[in-house]
């Protein structure tokens, strides 16, 4: 018998976090990710962890902040409007230089929107949301297995850089079921409490204090420069991309998450018709894999960015490629998911038959 189980994305990401050493989860229900807190509420007590259903997303993210200051592996999850409510806390956590992992199962927006799959929180995830000059690493898996594998990296990266790491999926990945295997299991007894954690003096001559408050301007500028140096290092070393059928490609679709998965089928259909189409799939959307995409300048006749949003991912593609090649775009919003033929139709409309 295989070691695989059949899991919903939202369940598998919860188990994946536990296998990655997460022992603290604070959250508030919202569709389409309710299976994550539900699963955590059952499993965390079994492994000696703590689950708290907070009274709101604002409370959840502040509980995460507290646990992060104690130097433990902590996570929350939500869906679009809930993540919006967490932005203040995300800014505080970033400003305090402490690590945590946040999962967003994106749904249709803006506002209350609907519970259908979307990628319209791209700007919020990679550009901002909260106040101040902060960044977070944003990972965008396109299958449940990849999500589970990336969660291990998410906690490692969060600890390594003392940063917020966000996993963005859409409602489809959260709700669909796939066979999944948990290949890595972090033994939490090997995780050391960091020097900076606020867990008591333990004989030191000073108490650790964690805050995002720095009253004098010069001091806060120095703090910001320290954060910026860290972000620059992350940009240099942590961007990831999958290059699919790119060796001889004349054109590339650029897409992430569910859209990339559907675009792979488009690539196969196009190739069967003799069109040399490939796929560039950012796995990290921050740091954006601009260098890897720029390497195709001079080799490609054009790219088609495809997303479940209106020109959000496209903005980063445009920043990376400027006017170095024709840049096409296709997207659907509000929870509508285009199929592979529809994407091919958009490609042919914008680039002709591609030959």
């Amino acid at each position: 018998m295989s070691d695989k189980v059949l899991m919903k994305g939202a369940e598998a990401l919860a188990e994946g976090a536990i296998q990655a050493g997460c022992r603290y989860y604070f959250g508030y229900p919202i569709t389409p990710q309710n299976e994550t807190p539900e699963y955590m509420s059952r499993r965390l007590p079994e492994v000696g962890g703590r689950f708290v259903q907070a009274e709101s997303e604002v409370a959840s993210i502040n509980m995460v902040y507290g646990a992060a200051c104690a130097g433990v592996r902590v996570m929350t999850s939500s869906s679009s409007p809930g993540i919006s409510l967490m932005q203040e806390g995300i800014s505080y956590i970033s400003g305090s230089n402490v690590p945590c992992v946040i999962m967003n199962a994106m749904r249709g927006g803006p506002g209350l929107g609907n519970i259908a799959p979307a990628q319209a929180d791209y700007f919020q995830a990679v550009k901002g949301g909260g106040n101040g000059d902060y960044r977070r690493i944003v990972l965008a898996p396109s299958s449940i297995q990849e999500g589970v594998d990336l969660l291990v990296d998410a906690f490692e990266l969060a600890d390594k850089y003392r940063m917020v790491v966000m996993i963005i999926v859409d409602g489809l990945i959260a709700q669909m079921m796939e066979p999944v295997e948990f290949k890595t299991r972090i033994d939490v007894s090997t995780l050391k409490t960091p020097e900076w954690a606020t867990v008591g003096r333990h004989g030191r001559d000073h108490a650790n204090v964690i805050t995002s408050l720095t009253l004098d301007a010069a001091g806060l500028e120095q703090w910001n420069l320290k954060l910026q140096a860290k972000y620059a290092q992350v940009e240099r070393t942590e961007s990831r991309i999958e290059e699919y059928q790119m060796d001889d490609a004349d054109y590339a679709i650029i897409a992430y998450g569910t859209m990339a998965r559907i675009a792979k089928t488009t690539v196969r259909i196009a190739r069967a018709k003799g069109v040399k189409l490939g796929l560039l799939r950012p796995i990290t959307v921050w740091p954006f894999p601009a260098k890897q995409i720029q390497a195709y300048v001079g080799k490609l006749k054009g790219t088609l960015t495809v997303e479940l949003a209106y020109r959000q991912l496209f903005e980063d593609v445009r920043l990376a490629l400027c006017d170095k090649m024709p840049l096409g775009w296709y997207g659907r919003g509000g929870g509508v998911v285009p199929g592979p033929q529809e994407i091919l139709g958009a490609f042919e409309e914008q680039f002709g038959k591609g030959r």
Partner: protein, 247 residues
């Protein structure tokens, strides 16, 4: 391989066949497949009821567009009213008591997962009980927590006490989608059979899908092989996307 309607004793007019079970075990798949088998096997009106108030995606209502025109015409579909189809609130169709009381149709009822899903349907208990019902628990032992006897027993006991309906039998639907092996199906059957033996319930069907059936069925023990029925798969990601997909 048995026709699915036979596995469930060729239901008669006025009967209700209720599918309950843990979340993600395949209740919706078996419901739609039994309804399709019934319209192939009988001229009686067949009603397919979507009473799932638990999961937000991949519900019966999301799969109906994959039916052929002929299938859609033959089936009477009961689902929440259109404007609430995709609302994230637990609503039941209107006039449900009357629909569940009809003596003229065979009803196949898909309820939501776990004790919560069947608990929501318990409010119709008296109507369902009066309708000569059968309730089956669908189990996929490769779902989390279902791979050991204790988990299976806890699940069954929770569904029984929450739904307050008698369980007629068990359906073994162990699968890993296209990656399913004969060993998976056999072990799944063995585990569900052991649960049935300890609880006095028969295993009435072992389900396989065309994605893996040809590599699996001939390798099963006679006990499992004799119960095999093929089901058409509706819940697959690439079937659910397309420009018309508005969840």
């Amino acid at each position: 391989m048995r026709e699915l309607a036979d596995a469930f004793g060729r239901p008669r007019a006025g009967q209700s066949i209720v599918f309950a079970g843990p979340s993600g075990s395949g209740k919706t798949e078996v419901s739609i497949n039994l309804a399709l088998s019934l319209i192939r096997q009988t001229a009686l009106p067949v009603t397919l009821c979507d009473l799932d108030v638990v999961k937000p995606y991949f519900r019966l209502r999301d799969m109906l567009r994959l039916l052929t025109e002929d299938e859609a015409r033959r089936l009477d579909i009961i689902e929440p009213e259109r404007r609430l189809l995709h609302a994230d609130i637990p609503t039941f169709p209107r006039n449900l008591h009357a629909l569940l009381s009809s003596r003229d149709t065979i009803r196949v009822i898909d309820v939501g997962g776990n004790a919560i899903g069947v608990g929501a349907v318990a409010q119709f208990r008296e109507t369902i009980t009066a309708s000569d019902y059968r309730m089956y628990i669908v189990v996929n032992t490769l779902r989390p927590g279902m791979n050991h006897a204790d988990g299976l027993k806890r699940m069954l006991s929770a569904i029984r006490s929450s739904g307050r309906l008698d369980v007629t039998g068990l359906v073994a639907n162990t699968n890993l989608q296209a990656e399913t092996t004969a060993d998976d199906v056999q072990r799944g059957y063995d585990a569900v059979k052991a649960l049935g033996d300890s609880e006095g319930l028969p295993v009435v069907a072992v389900l396989v899908s065309p994605e893996y059936a040809s590599q699996v069925v001939h390798r099963l023990t006679p006990g499992a092989a004799g119960l095999v029925s093929m089901i058409r798969v509706f819940n697959r990601i690439l079937d659910t996307v397309g420009s018309q997909t508005e969840f």
